[in-house]
């Protein structure tokens, strides 16, 4: 039987191509699977390592920090290394003053130094003092007289309301 197409058997060539193509597919599939498996493994491993590391740090760091902090005097460090005046100088005053109860402080100061009496003593003068003296004397006499009357009438309790000066 004559070979018409120059010796190459088209059927054989086709089979060979199929084989090679199949082999290539399998190889690339295997490679992909391997790569996937490797990547997954690496990913899982790194994530679990991170998680474990975080958990360990969460547990250890607070203990370690508190152990460290309890052994040092932060106030002392701040005093030595931080210029508090510098920081305060940069603070904005207006919002701080907005929070300060200035009228209350004024009231407190007026009350504490007894400003009314200072004013009274510096401006009242003799006439005011005379008037107060006269009034107080009258009240003392009131108390004296009503005391006598109450004794005459055998009253036990003092007159209500009392006038203690």
């Amino acid at each position: 039987m004559p070979v018409e197409n120059g010796g190459d058997d088209p059927i054989e060539a086709g089979a060979l191509y199929s084989v090679v193509s199949a082999a290539t597919s399998i190889a690339s599939g295997a490679l992909g699977a391997t790569r996937f498996a490797t990547e997954t493994t690496v990913y899982l491993a790194s994530e679990s390592t991170k998680a474990i590391a975080n958990a360990v740090l969460d547990a250890v760091v607070p203990i370690a920090v508190s152990a460290v902090v309890s052994r040092i005097d932060i106030n002392e460090i701040v005093k030595d290394h931080v210029d508090v005046n510098e920081i305060v100088a940069q603070a904005e005053l207006a919002p701080i003053l907005d929070r300060v109860p200035i009228t209350e402080i004024a009231d407190y100061v007026i009350e504490e130094i007894d400003l009314p009496s200072l004013i009274r003593e510096s401006t009242g003068g003799v006439a005011d003092g005379l008037l107060s003296t006269l009034r107080f004397q009258a009240i003392h006499t009131d108390n004296f007289v009503s005391g006598i009357v109450d004794r005459v009438f055998f009253r036990r309790e003092k007159r209500a309301p009392e006038r203690e000066v």
Partner: protein, 183 residues
Amino acid sequence: MTTFSQFRDAFVPGSQVHFSALPERARSIQGVSAGFTSRAIATFIDIGLVAVLVLGAWGGWEALRYVLSGFYDLPSVTGFPLLLLGYFVMWIYWTWSWSTGGRSLGNVLMGLRVQTQSGNNLGLGLAALRSLLSVIFALGLAWALISRKNKSVQDIVLRTEVVFDWAPLLPKVDMTFAMEINE
């Protein structure tokens, strides 16, 4: 010495703080009923004032009579009519004083104020009535010696009282501001 914190804690938000110009030891007696001596002195001061007014008017009248004696024969006012005039002026003066804030000159000097039992100022009618009773029966004040509440006869009849009220207070300070701070 109170600290500012104590001062602030003791302060009730929304209330008012007032500073008293009164001497420290006079503060406790403000609003308390006044005794006989203070009131008697105040009364004597008022009587003295009215006496000066009436005698001054009488002196003026006599001077006028003297000057005009060549032209008119003006009647002399002496004795009983003059006394009656004194009583009348006293009545008017006390009515006016007590109905306009409760203080006559004597009351002002002695630091007293006439008010109703509920603490209000006397109205014109009540002031006129109390003034009339005081003028025609001044001795009624003596009951303040005996009364436990330092009440004169006039006070008992008309339900009034006389209290110490030395000086007007300084203006009150509105403290609503502090409420905003505390919120």
